[in-house]
Structure formats: C-alpha cells, structure tokens
C-alpha cells in the first residue's frame, strides 16, 4: 500500500515510516507506517490498548520512537532541538481527552494562555481573539467560569477553543467523544468538522467511537497489535471489510478478537479440578 490518494496533489502533513515504540518490555508499535494528508481529518481507530494515544504523543514529540522515523511538516520530530520542537508545537494544537484545562485559571484565561505565553499582543486584542474563539465553540458567556464548574463536554469545547487559539495547522484529538451524552457528542462532532473545514486544518483523531468518527473522517486508519490493519477512505475500509475490520466496525462481541481471554478449554478446566493457588 502506498501513500493515500489525497497526498498525491499535496505533501503529507505527517509521515511515519517503519516506526517501532517499546515501553519497557512491552512493544506498542512494530513496523508502523502511515501518512496523514494535509487539510483532511484522519481517524486512527483500534481497540483499547493499541497505543492510539501513544501515537499522538509520538507525533507531538512527547515520546521518542525506539526506531523508525516520523516527520511532521517535513521535520523529523525526534531529532529536533527543544526550541525547534516547541516552535513546531506552536503550529500544532492538541485536544486532550479530559480537556486538561489549567485549574488555576478560569475559562477566559485558559483560552488566553497560549496567546499570552507566545505573543506580545496587547490585552485588548487578546480579549477580542479569546472572545472569537469562545464564540466559535459557543461558550462566550461561560468565560468567567472555573474549569471545575464545567461539564465534560464544556471542558472539551473550551480546550478546543484553546487548541485553536494560536491558529495551528494541525490538531490532534485524543478520544474527543469518550464519555459524552448524545447531545454533547453531536456538538463536539459538529465543532470538529466545522473547525477543520473552515480553517482548513489537518486533523488526527484517535477514537473508538466508530459511527461518529466515520461521519467526519476523510481517511481511516485501523490499528491492532502495533501495526496498521487497514486504511483508506471510509467507504474503502467499509467495502473491504476483512473479518477483523467488520467485527470492529460493527462492534460484534466475538470474532477474530475472541470474547474469551485465551486459556485452556472450559471443559478441561471444569473437569480437571486442579486450581493453582497463589
């Protein structure tokens, strides 16, 4: 499989080549290769524990690959100096699963935070920018609330406003739909689609909420056991549907991924009568 069709007319935003990542003795990725086309939403899906969040941290340079290479915007992330890495991150937003708002600040100051840290803009202008970002996520009126007063969905919307505060070229979304009620979920889905389309951003979305993800993705990458199992547009992936893919997409409890934790046959266990005591 070669680069996806979107990247033919444009350089890919993220390129990953034969990447391996090990954490202690555990191998998270082995021989992982994929590309993220510019200006599109790429969704990375896979069962829990396949290292989806780890992938985002590798892209953001918070973790270094054990081997293999990873480029963002043509820069090899693991080889950047701290300063260059920080400059790259200013062009990158990240939406954390819990929002990760700074608990010392209220909503307004949280969104203003990257602007105050990285620009010398006058306070008046910062106020305008922050109100614009908050208006975009529908929380302009909630600017004086503290993070502890926000619901999970609201916190994520504020975090999204903060992530786009510096007008990045790419946003990494870590499980943006986890644990939300249907209305809030709909709001977040709409917001992600709208911000990405209007601002022409590259989005990398990590999730296992199949329906929502399929609705907004241009490209889907399925991960399992440290490598890419399938990738392509939503329709392509659906159409191909290997047994594993269709089990995952339809959420069937049993199939190539077994319901039972692997072990000795049930019958032997019942009749054998031996139990190792610990």
């Amino acid at each position: 499989m070669h680069v996806s069709r979107e990247s033919v007319d444009d350089t890919p935003h993220v390129v990953i080549e034969d990447l391996a990542f090990r954490h202690g003795r555990k191998t998270v990725f082995e021989g992982l290769s994929m590309t993220v086309p510019r200006g599109r939403i790429t969704t990375v899906m896979g069962p829990s524990g396949t290292g989806k969040t780890t992938l985002l941290r590798l892209i953001g340079g918070q973790l270094r690959p054990s081997s293999g290479r990873l480029w963002v915007d043509g820069l090899e992330v693991a080889r950047l100096s701290r300063r260059s890495l920080y400059n790259l991150r200013k062009r990158m937003g990240m939406l954390f699963q819990t929002g990760a708002l700074l608990s010392d600040f209220n909503v307004f100051d949280n969104v203003a935070f990257p602007l105050r840290e990285h620009t010398d803009l006058p306070e008046e202008l910062i106020r305008h920018l922050v109100l614009m970002k908050l208006e975009a996520v529908g929380l302009r009126a909630a600017r004086d609330l503290d993070p502890s007063q926000l619901s999970g969905g609201m916190a994520r919307r504020v975090a999204l406003a903060r992530a786009i505060a510096l007008d990045p070229q790419m946003i990494l979304y870590d499980e943006p739909f986890a644990g939300l009620d249907p209305i809030t979920m709909g709001q977040i889905v709409t917001l992600i689609r709208r911000t990405n389309q209007t601002l022409g951003l590259t989005g990398v979305l990590v999730t296992h909420d199949v329906v929502e993800a399929m609705a907004i993705s241009d490209q889907v990458v399925l991960l399992a056991e440290g490598r890419v199992v399938d990738r392509g547009t939503v329709d392509e992936v659906r159409g191909r549907a290997s047994e594993w893919t269709s089990q995952f997409l339809e959420g069937r409890p049993d199939g190539p991924v077994p319901f039972h934790y692997p072990g000795t046959p049930y019958r032997d266990d019942l009749l054998g009568g031996k139990e190792s005591r610990t």
């Binding site: 701290r82 920080y86 200013k90 954390f96 990760a100 935070f113 990285h118």
Partner: protein
C-alpha cells in the same frame, strides 16, 4: 531465600532509579532558575502559596514550642538556682535545633504535601502534558518558581519560628514563672554566638528548605497519575522529607558542633 534476595535487589535498583530521576529532575530545575526572575509574578504567587500560607502553623507552633521550652527549662534550671539562664537555654535550643528542624517538619507537612498534591494532580489531569503541547516548558512555568519559593520560604519561616519561640519562652518564663525580664534577654545575648549558633541554624534551614522542596516537587512529578498515586506520593513526601531532615540534621550538627 533467593526470592528475598531478588526482592532486595529489585528494591535497591528501584531506589537508585528514583535517585537518578530525582537528580536529573533537580538539574533541569536548577538550569531553569532564570525563569524565576523573568516571570517574577509567578514566583511571587508561589512565594505566597508556599510561604505566606504556612505562616499560621509556623507561628502558632513556634509560640507553643517556646512556651514548653520555657517551662521545661525553668523546672530544670531552678534546681541549680540558675533560673536566670532560661533565656539562653530557650534561644540556643531554638536557634540551633528546634527552629530549623521543627519548621522543616511542619513545612513538609503543610507546604510540601500541598506542592506534591498540586503537581501530581496537574500530571494526572494532563495539565503538564497540555503545557508541553502548548510549547510551554513546565520546568520553567511550574517547577522552577515552586522550587525557588520553597527554598526561599523555609529559612525565613525557620527564623520566624525561632523568634516567636523566644517570645513564647518569655511569656512563660518571665510572665508566669517570675524570671527577671532583664536577665532573660541578657543571658540570651551572652550565650548566643552569631556565627556558632545563628549562622549554623540558618545554614541548616537553608539545607532543609532545599531538600524538602526538592522531594516535594519531585514526588509530584514522579507520582503515578492516578488518585492512589497522588495520595501515595503525598504521604511519601512527608515521610521521606521527615527522614531526610532528621538524618541531615544529625550530619550537619556533627559537622558544625562536633568533630565528626
């Protein structure tokens, strides 16, 4: 037996690993100290939360410790007809030992545990990660000002503790037990040496401040990012700090006053 030895080895290696991480952490925090001046407003905020908010416990404890010293000193000294020497006893005990040590223990309990919990919580809620991803260095933004604030506050609090303790001793000794006010202070002046006693005490409190803050901030950063992890780290801060303070006090006392 082999299991025991293996366990012992593992624990030992674990300790060295922690020590290594703690040292690397300290190195980076010290290298980031220029942020303390550049972002002075952040440092002031931390001085307030670490230092000023520990004032109450330090002042009240200092007063009571001084009062108890006044009592106990008087009871012993009066047997030898030397009750007038009370001022010297109170001041020496406070300035040399109790001031730095008790302040450090209280400081670990009040400010140290708060630092650990705060930083641990920032880690568990991904705030530290978020700072990094916003291209803001947590070492400069979060750790350096906190470390500096703890390091500066601790000796000041210890000095305050000793001063209030002297007043406590005065209240009991002079006010309650009838020691002469003039001799309380003149004795104090006569036996307390600036270099031998006061400077030694200040050095101790500086060392304790450094160590306790280091332990507290590092435990927060190194905490497992879960609720249990944070509570364990907070306990660890108090326990490890207390042991470190008492152990170091022994060594420092030996170096300063004995011929160790």
């Amino acid at each position: 037996m082999i299991d025991f030895l293996a366990g012992l080895g593992r624990a030992g290696l674990g300790w060295f690993a922690v020590l290594g991480r703690a040292s690397m952490f300290l190195g980076r925090v010290l290298l980031s100290q220029d942020a303390v001046l550049r972002r002075f407003s952040l440092t002031v905020a931390e001085l307030y939360s670490v230092g000023v908010r520990s004032l109450l416990i330090i002042v009240v404890s200092g007063l009571f410790v001084g009062m108890v010293l006044g009592y106990q000193g008087y009871i012993t000294l009066v047997n030898f007809g030397a009750a007038e020497a009370l001022g010297g006893v109170v001041a020496l005990s406070l300035v040399r030992e109790l001031g730095p040590v008790v302040t450090a223990l209280l400081f670990a309990g009040r400010a140290g545990s708060a630092l650990t919990a705060e930083i641990g919580l920032m880690k568990a809620t991904e705030q530290l990660s978020a700072l990094e991803m916003m291209a803001v260095d947590p070492y400069r933004r979060v750790f350096a000002p906190r470390f500096f604030a703890g390091f500066v506050s601790m000796p000041l609090l210890a000095a305050l503790f000793s001063a209030v303790g002297v007043i406590g001793g005065y209240l009991v000794g002079v006010g309650l037990l009838g020691v002469d006010s003039g001799s309380y202070f003149s004795q104090m002046q006569a036996v307390t040496d600036w270099r031998e006693d006061v400077v030694s005490g200040v050095i101790k409190s500086v060392v304790f401040g450094f160590v306790v803050t280091w332990i507290a901030v590092f435990q927060g950063v190194d905490a497992e990012p879960t609720s249990e992890g944070i509570s364990r780290a907070t306990t660890q801060t108090v326990v490890v700090s207390a042991l470190a303070v008492l152990g170091l006090d022994f060594i420092l006392t030996g170096l300063m006053f004995g011929d160790l």
